[in-house]
Amino acid sequence: MTLKKNILALRQKKAIVEKGGGDKAIEKQVAMGKMTARDRILALLDVDSFHEYDLFVEHEERNFGMASKELAGDGVITGTGTISGAPICIYAQDFTVMGGSLGLKHARKITKIMDHALRMKVPCIGINDSGGARIQEGISALAGYGEIFYRNTMSSGVIPQISVILGPCAGGAVYSPALTDFVFVVENISKMFITGPNVIETVLGEKISQEDLGGARVHAEITGNAHFYALSEMECFDQIKELISLIPHSNQQKAVSVEPKEPKSLKNIENIIPADPKQPYDVREVIHALTDDSKFLEIHELWAANIVIGFGRLNGETIGFVANQPMYLAGVLDCDASDKAARFILYCDAFNIPIVTLEDMPGYLPGVDQEHAGVIRHGAKMLYAYSEATVPKITVILRKAYGGGYIAMNSRHLGADFMFAWPGAEIAVMGPEGAANIIFRKEIMEAEDEDAMRQQKVQEYIEKFANPFVAASKGYIDAVIEPSETRELLLHALEVSKNKDDHRPAKKHGIPPF
C-alpha cells in the first residue's frame, strides 16, 4: 500500500491554500504595485531555502459570519529559511486574505515563529502588510498584538529583529516595528500611523493624505521611525541582505568576518578635511577612506543628517561608526541626532560590535524649539549610551570638539578605550570667538579698537587652546596622529581590544533618560 493517493491529496490541498486569497485578490495586490507575501519571502530568502510551517492553521472565530469564512493560513505565512546561508525565521502577512488582518490564530502563528527565533538564536524578520486588527475577532485580536509586542521586547538585544513595512501598518500593529531593531520602508508602499487620516478628519477636522501622514518618506526623513528607505521592494530586499551579512545573528556570536581588504577610495585622506574650520565636508568620505573596500552601510541616512551612523568593516570585522556630519547643520548635536546615535550605540553594545567615533562638532544646536523639545533629556541619552557600553570604543577627533559635545562624543571620560586626534583638532571648552569674548571681555571693552583687539585675542586663544596639544598634555587623548596613520591605528586598537573585559556594577538595569 503506497501513500500515493494521500500524497496527491496533500499536494492539491497545498496548492489551494498557498494561493492565499485566490487569483482575484492576488491580481488586486499586484495592481497596487505590491508583491504577494509568498513572492516576497521567496525573493528575499536564498533559492529553495524556505520551509513553511502552520500552512493549514485555521481561525476559530464564530461570530459575525466568520464561521463560513475560510482564510488560507489565517492571513500570514511563517517559516524558516536562509539568507546568504545564514538561518533566519520569517513571517509575512498576506494582504490577499481578508486584508491581512490579524486574528488570534494569525498572531499565534507569528508568536510561534518568534519563539522559535528566540530559542534557536537566529534573526527574526517580519514583513508587515496588514489592514490591522480583525474587528470581528474583537479583543482576541488585541490579545494577539499584545503577545507579539511582549515577544519583541523579550527578544530585544538577544536576536536581531527586522521589520519590513510593505503595506499599511496602522493602529496597534505599528508598535511591533517600533520595538524591533531595524525598520525598512519602501516608497509609495509603506504606510505607518497610529490613527489614520479618516479618524483624524472625523475627530479633529485636520485633512491629510495617507502618504503625507505616514508614508515612507515621512518616516525616513522626519520621524526617524524607518532606518532604511528604498524605492522598490527588490531594492529593499537587497538592503536587508546586506544588513544580515554585517550584523551578528545573535548576541552570543560575532558577525561573519570576511577577507580584509584595503579601502579603495581615490581621495587621499589628508585632503578631505578643509583647513578652515568653518568649511564643511562630507564625513562619509573619511569613513570610506578608512573601511575595508571603502564599503559602508549607512543607517537612518535621511533623518538627523547632522550625524552619520552605520556599519563598516575593519580587518574583515563589523564595526559600528558614529560620526558628526559637518555638511548638515555644521555637525551640531540636537535632539534627533542624540536619539539616533544613542539607540545605535545601544544596539552595538548589545551585540558586541566595537564602536569607532569620528568627531567634528561645534556644539549643540541652539534654539527655543530645541530647548522646549527637551534637548537636555535627549542629549543625555547619548552620554548614557556611551558610558554604559562595554564594547571596545575608539574615538578620533578630526577637527572641532567644543564643550559638552567633546564629552558626549565618546570622550576618554565616558570610557573611550583609545582617543586619537588629528593635528588640526581644536579641543576646547568653546569656540575661539565665543571664548575670547568672555575671557578677554575686559581687554576688548577697554581697547581703542574693539574689533582689532577681539581679533588679536581670538588669535591668541587659537594658538594657545584651539589645538590638540592641551588635551594631549593632560593625557586626555592618547596620541596626536597623522590622518594617513588613522586606519593602521584603528586596526591595531581593535586588535588589542579583542578580548576586552569590562564590567558594570550589578544592577537589574539603569534608568536612561528615555
Partner: protein, 111 residues
C-alpha cells in the same frame, strides 16, 4: 561622491558662522511666539458646545468660560485669573482647529 557643489549657507552656532546645508526639518521648524496670558487658545481641535460668558463680562478666576467637545470628552475651559472678557471669537456649534484664539481677555482697570 557628488560632482556638483551643494549650495552652502551661513549657519551660526554660538559665536562662529559655519558654511553648511540645512535639513528640511530645521527649515520647517516653528518659530517660537511668546504666548500672551490674555489669550485663551484652544489646545486641541474640537466643537464649541456652549459659551457661558458675554463680551464685557467681568469673570472671576476658575469660573467656566466655555465647553469644548474634543476626543469624546466635554472639556471645561476655565478662567485663568479674574479679568474682563474683551472679545469672543467663537460661537456654539463651530468646529475649531488647534491654537485658535477663542477668547481675548483684558485686565481690569485697577481700582
Amino acid at each position: 561622491m557628488q560632482t556638483e557643489k551643494p549650495e552652502y549657507v551661513d549657519f551660526a552656532v554660538t559665536a562662529r558662522k559655519y558654511k553648511t546645508l540645512l535639513t528640511k526639518k530645521y527649515q520647517n521648524r516653528k518659530q517660537w511666539v511668546n504666548p500672551s496670558p490674555y489669550d485663551i487658545q484652544s489646545i486641541i481641535p474640537g466643537t464649541i458646545l456652549s459659551v457661558f460668558v458675554k463680551e464685557g463680562d467681568v469673570v472671576n478666576e476658575g469660573a467656566p468660560l466655555l465647553i469644548l467637545e474634543a476626543m469624546k470628552m466635554q472639556n471645561r475651559i476655565e478662567m485663568p485669573f479674574t479679568a474682563r472678557i474683551k472679545k469672543i471669537n467663537v460661537e456654539v456649534g463651530v468646529r475649531i482647529p488647534r491654537e485658535t484664539l477663542m477668547i481675548e481677555l483684558e485686565a481690569l482697570d485697577n481700582e
